[in-house]
Symmetry: C2
Subunit: 168 residues, 2 copies
DNA sequence: TGTCTTATTGAGACATAGACTCAACACAAA
DNA sequence: TTTGTGTTGAGTCTATGTCTCAATAAGACA
């Protein structure tokens, strides 16, 4: 987090759900029960997750009338990305989501051994990006930077097989 | 291309097929007709392509006994990536391939309008990457950096709909 | 050059993530 | 409360890629 407010920070007083409601209203969309359940769940913890995990968790959480269907999960994820609440990453061909709203810019180190993501921030990166873009008269809207490799932990435990299908 | 030879350049005298044969032999694999046809075709032009396009082109090219089947295309692409002849990119969730062997390091600007990829090279990028990694004691094996935005051409022709399903 | 072992191939089934269709439903405005 | 319309969930469909397995063809060796 930064020490001073930027324009972006002003709205951070709003909860994710409130922020989402703003977005929905601006689009003439409705604030429904499934969308509420999903947003509450997604923002209840700060972790990277994929659609499938979310579908599982939601169906476990509320088996009855309060469950959220697969299509709705996919639809809502797309909306949340559009609304700027979530960011979508492509890790090794898989779609992975993370919080965007109220969370500082960052990129990722991806350990190809344990599949964990590590966040980092670099000011210079954006500068390079913008410089290159300017040179080619390219209008930048964003970027994806993922560094592949092996994390400290995995370097140490060398080739002892561990968490494989664990969380990304 | 650089002005001076590096160790990497030494083997560039070999054609992609020759290079691939080296790899196959080192793995106890066989130099077969389908693999030859595929490599020849892939390296006959320097473009980004996806598996599907390749399958189409190959089936058009040689309908008879010389055709290459879908499974073989997928298998060979994997081998070519392993052999270091091709690089695999994930653009907006799609797998896209490009020449790696004998081709200088670079990253990409991706125009979300016309879906075209533009290449660029930045020395600083690798430096930043390595600095960040060092800080976190992360052993780097590679990276993916894709800058999203709108290319000059698309900025100019504004919102006139054009090439959509065109080549990536 | 013929023989034999074994990697490779192609056909087709299977897997998976995600999108689409549509009738029933529920939000929110009047 | 009523009503118009956006939303939902069940189920189907599509795209991309993988797996299985019998038939084939490299290529090593005689």
């Amino acid at each position: 987090m930064s020490d001073q407010f930027t324009l972006e920070d002003v709205n951070v007083a709003l909860s994710p759900m409130e922020r989402f409601e703003e977005y929905l209203q601006s689009k003439g969309k409705r604030v429904t029960q499934p969308r509420r359940i999903l947003v509450d769940h997604v923002f209840s913890k700060h972790e990277h997750f994929d659609a499938d995990t979310l579908i599982d968790e939601l169906s476990k959480m509320a088996a009855g009338p309060n469950r959220v269907s697969r299509p709705t999960v996919y639809r809502s994820l797309t909306e949340l990305v559009e609304a700027g609440l979530l960011r979508k990453l492509d890790i090794a061909g898989r779609a992975v989501y993370e919080h965007d709203y109220g969370y500082p810019d960052h990129d990722h180190l991806y350990c190809t051994q344990c599949q964990q993501l590590f966040e980092f921030h670099s000011e210079e990166l954006a500068k390079i990006r913008d410089a290159v873009a300017k040179e080619q008269h390219f209008r930048v809207t964003g970027h994806k930077f993922i560094v592949n490799g092996v994390c400290v932990e995995c370097q140490h435990k060398a080739r002892r097989p561990k968490r494989k299908v664990d969380l990304i």
